[in-house]
Every structure is written in structure tokens, then in C-alpha cells.
């Protein structure tokens, strides 16, 4: 797409516009204070905190088992991966080796969560650029995953299925056949996604060359997940610091080099295939064994500092625990992917139009509770 610079002799005035906290494109209670000249965006100033619940402060009060359920409410679209992050951090601190079965199930459920999160993102992405039908197609497939989750974990969104030491209960007998059915179903649907939206000429015009992020900026802004990978920055935690059963599967890191909105879109579509392949490698050989190792009723972490990274659907989630040896953490910090990804919005949206901002924001895939914590 060619960039047009218009030298204007008109005297124009910049003005402010409030995008949010109630706006269809901000996907939650994010407020963006836009400085606009006509349709061209001059500055984006995010204003956060509309749903800040101070989860980090609440963690200092709660026991380690209780903290897990709070993480459901951060990035609610990848709640299982958030749970896993806390559990892994606690298990590492306790030097607790969880059974193989737990590792494999955690990985499968994590990848299912990623697919489900990307399904929702795909639907919403289409909706943000104006194709309303995609929303329902994305949700149809997400519904199948939600049903699988509901049958095994008992809840559809905030599962709290992981506990320090393993899983709260074993997988449901229907889990494996249902996941297999989903894989065959979904494999026919991704090409349909491509036919409906990816190849669409209007969609490509809307996204190509919009919101370009260079690799250096991506690293400097701490971009992670699909946002970083679209800029050619190889940042998949699953590759560099593999956790659970991810060291025993082979998959390709979805990488693009353009760094524009369309590249971020393509990375996520590619991740559909990669996640499916990870699940396929594991689903047939879930090892037998215990689903849980017994921990003490009151978990006390040894004095020290612990850091655990995982790759959620949005990027790198870091859990930083400072323990003084008591049953509550001294400090609990979440390094949330959305927070860093939001910080680069001003950098890449300036100079675009309002429509570009909406498309860009859709591919950043912001979940506001994740940013506000």
C-alpha cells in the first residue's frame, strides 16, 4: 500500500476524541485519548485502570492455592495457561516433580485454550474491520472447545483446573474422543476462514502496511507473542524456555517479517495449525498415572525469588514471586503480555486513520483485565 502525504494549505486544528471506556472497538473498558487531525491520528494516550482489581495486592493476602483462581480473571481467554504459570512457579520453588500425565494434559489444554482464544480473536478481528459474520463462525468453533473444557474442568471460562502439584481432577473419559473430533472439524474450518476473510481483497487492503512495527522496536517495547513474532522477532517461550510437555513435541514457531497488521493476523492463523499439530502429537499418548501429587495443605515456599515464564495466547506471561518463607508471598508480580503490547500502540498507530487504529488494535489482541490486573 502506498503512503500518501498531503501537504495542506488549509489551517486545521487538532482535536481530542475519547475512544472508550465504552466503545465497541476497545473490547472492554480501555480508554484511548486520541489526538486527531481530521481522520489522521496524531497521538494515542491510553488511560487504564477502569477494571483494576489489584490482583497483585490480593495475592499478598492469599495462600498459593487461592492465588491460582485469581489468575483466571486476568487474561480470561487463556485462563488455563495463566493457572499453569502460577502452578509451575510454585512447583519449581517446592522442587516438586509432577507426573508425566499432568504435564501432557496441561500442554494439551493449554494449546486448546490458545486455539479458543485465537478463534475469538479471529471473530472479533473480522468484526472490527466490519465483517460481522466472522464473529459467529469464530464462536461456533470456540464453542466446541468450551464444551470440552466444561466437561472436563466444569467451567467454560474461568476453569481453575490446575492446582499446585497437578490437576484438580483427572480428565473426563470423553475428553480424548472429543478433542479428536474437534481437530478433524477444525481442520476443515481454517481454510474456510482463509476464504472468507484472509484472501478478501478489502481485508488485505485494510491490513497490509498498516501499523508497521520493526523488529528493533518490537524488542525494545517488550512485544511478545504473535505481535513480536509478526515483526520477525523470535520470542516464543515454548521454544526458548519450554515448560510442561512442550520439550517433547516438535512445532514451528510462526514467524513473519513484515510487522504489519496483516502479518500479525497471519501469525495467529499459522498458530492455529501449530497448536493443532502439538495436540495431535500428544493426544494419542497421554501417559497413565496420577493426576496429582499431594502437597501440604498449607504451602510455604522456601525463602527466595522465583520467576516463571509461559506463552499465553497473547504472549509472554511472567510470574515473579518473592517469598519470605511464609504461607503468603511477600510480593507477587505478573508481567502481563497485554501491558507491554499496549505500550507500543501509540508508536504504531500514529499517522494512520481511525479505521487503521481499530484494525491495529484488533491484531494486538488486547484483553483489558490482563492489562489492568
Amino acid at each position: 500500500m502506498e503512503t500518501t502525504t498531503i501537504k495542506s494549505n488549509f489551517k486545521s486544528e487538532e482535536y481530542f476524541i475519547n475512544m472508550g471506556p465504552q466503545h465497541p472497538a476497545t473490547h472492554g473498558v480501555l480508554r484511548l485519548v486520541l489526538t486527531i487531525d481530521g481522520e489522521i491520528i496524531k497521538k494515542v494516550d491510553p488511560d487504564l485502570g477502569y477494571i483494576h482489581r489489584s490482583i497483585e495486592k490480593m495475592c499478598e493476602r492469599d495462600s498459593y492455592q487461592q492465588i491460582v483462581h485469581l489468575t483466571d480473571r486476568m487474561d480470561y481467554l487463556s485462563s488455563n495457561i495463566n493457572n499453569e504459570a502460577v502452578c509451575l512457579a510454585v512447583e519449581n520453588a517446592l522442587e516438586l516433580e509432577v507426573p508425566d500425565r499432568v504435564k501432557v494434559i496441561r500442554t494439551i489444554i493449554g494449546e486448546l485454550t490458545r486455539i479458543s482464544s485465537h478463534c475469538l480473536w479471529w471473530g472479533v478481528m473480522g468484526m472490527d474491520v466490519g465483517a460481522l459474520t466472522t464473529y459467529f463462525y469464530g464462536f461456533r468453533d470456540r464453542e466446541m472447545i468450551n464444551d470440552i473444557m466444561e466437561e472436563t474442568c466444569g467451567a467454560r471460562l474461568t476453569m481453575n483446573y490446575n492446582v499446585p502439584g497437578g490437576l484438580m481432577f483427572d480428565i473426563h473419559p470423553n475428553f480424548v474422543p472429543r478433542v479428536k473430533k474437534f481437530i478433524t472439524h477444525f481442520k476443515t474450518k481454517i481454510p474456510e476462514f482463509d476464504r472468507l476473510l484472509t484472501n478478501n481483497v478489502i481485508f488485505q487492503k485494510r491490513t497490509r502496511g498498516v501499523g508497521v512495527l520493526s523488529k528493533e522496536d518490537a524488542i525494545s517495547f517488550g512485544a511478545s507473542g504473535p505481535v513480536g513474532r509478526a515483526s520477525g522477532y523470535s520470542c516464543d517461550v515454548r521454544k526458548y524456555h519450554p515448560y510442561s510437555a512442550l520439550d517433547r513435541v516438535t512445532f514451528n514457531e510462526a514467524l513473519q517479517t513484515e510487522g504489519d497488521t496483516f502479518a500479525r493476523y497471519k501469525v495467529r492463523i499459522q498458530e492455529f495449525w501449530e497448536s493443532l499439530s502439538i495436540i495431535e502429537q500428544l493426544i494419542d499418548n497421554i501417559p497413565e498415572g496420577e493426576h496429582r501429587v499431594a502437597t501440604k495443605a498449607v504451602i510455604k515456599l522456601p525463602k527466595g525469588e522465583y520467576f516463571q515464564k509461559v506463552e499465553t495466547a497473547r504472549g509472554e506471561l511472567g510470574v515473579y514471586i518473592i517469598s519470605t518463607g511464609t504461607k503468603n508471598p511477600y510480593r507477587f508480580k505478573f508481567r502481563s503480555p497485554g501491558f507491554s503490547n499496549l505500550s507500543l500502540l501509540n508508536h504504531i498507530a500514529v499517522g494512520g486513520k481511525i479505521g487503521d487504529l481499530v484494525a491495529t488494535m484488533a491484531t494486538l489482541d488486547l484483553v483489558i483485565p490482563d492489562i489492568d490486573r
Binding site: 459467529f136 461456533r140 466444561e150 466444569g154 484438580m168 481432577f169 484472501n199 478478501n200 481483497v201
Partner: protein, 158 residues
């Protein structure tokens, strides 16, 4: 010729997109994913593990399995469970023993994390599949789970 191939490719991709939605339009009867709640109430069955609310099952003799150990109360992150207990005289041994007076459950505060049920040593509480919890008054969401006059099932504590 780029100009005309642009037009041709553009129209082709648009028609491909229309064929996808068109296919679903023709199969709209079969493909509809709408659940016509509450019309389908009779056939709508939640999964066994579905977390709707915490219930305390009682057997035919109006006996439950809760010993009043309060582990659930401690495990709960939100203060959803309150156990009011009492010391009563055990009929068999004649000794004083802890027993529950009221097991109070504030559904409005519950986040369905499942820690109370996970921690319960006697399986006294479990998940109920009821999800129709809308009420006109918030106080209706505070429930006493043990039925009036209920007793501890014999043999649970052994």
C-alpha cells in the same frame, strides 16, 4: 495490466467470500447453533462436573456428611462459606463433639473456584448443576446448605 488483474483478483476473492456465507445460508436450517433457551429446558442437561453452585447432599434419613471441620471455610478465597458450629453430645459415645449448626453459603460471593470441594475430607459438599440463580433480592443468594433438623451421617468420622 496490473490495473485489470487487480480488478479481476479483487472480484474473485469477493465472490469466494460470498460463496462461504452463501453455503451457510443454504444450510441455515441444519447449521444453526442457537440454543433456544428457555424452550429447551427439558432437554438441556449440564455436564456432570459443571460448577453451578455448591450443594450439600442429604440422604433419605436427612443426614449429611459434614463434620464441621471448617477446612472449606479456610480454603475459600472470598469468605463465601461460613460455618456456625456448636458442641453437642454424641448419643453413641456420650462425649461432647463438634457439630454444625448452620452451613452458610453466600452464592453471590462465590467465584466457583472449587477449592472447598477439593479440600473437603468427607465429600460433604459437591457441585450442583443448577445455573438459574437470578433472584429479585440479593439476600436470597445466601443459603443454609444443611437442611433443618439434619444430622451427621454415622460412620463419616471414622
Amino acid at each position: 495490466m496490473g490495473y485489470f488483474s487487480n480488478i479481476y483478483n479483487g472480484i474473485k476473492t469477493l465472490l469466494t467470500g460470498m460463496s462461504v456465507t452463501g453455503k451457510y445460508f443454504l444450510h441455515s436450517r441444519k447449521g444453526a447453533i442457537t440454543q433456544q433457551y428457555p424452550d429447551n429446558r427439558d432437554t438441556l442437561k449440564m455436564f456432570d462436573r459443571f460448577r453451578g453452585e455448591v450443594i450439600m447432599p442429604h440422604d433419605d434419613n436427612n443426614e449429611h456428611r459434614c463434620t464441621g471441620c471448617q477446612k472449606c471455610e479456610i480454603a475459600c478465597p472470598n469468605g463465601t462459606i461460613e460455618i456456625i458450629w456448636d458442641r453437642g453430645i454424641d448419643e453413641v459415645t456420650g462425649r461432647k463433639k463438634k457439630k454444625i449448626d448452620q452451613f452458610i453459603y453466600h452464592l453471590s460471593m462465590c467465584t466457583m473456584c472449587g477449592l472447598c470441594i477439593d479440600v473437603c475430607p468427607t465429600d460433604a459438599i459437591e457441585w450442583g448443576q443448577n445455573f438459574e440463580n437470578s433472584v429479585y433480592d440479593r439476600t436470597a443468594l445466601t443459603r443454609v446448605l444443611n437442611l433443618p433438623g439434619s444430622k451427621l451421617q454415622p460412620g463419616v468420622e471414622d
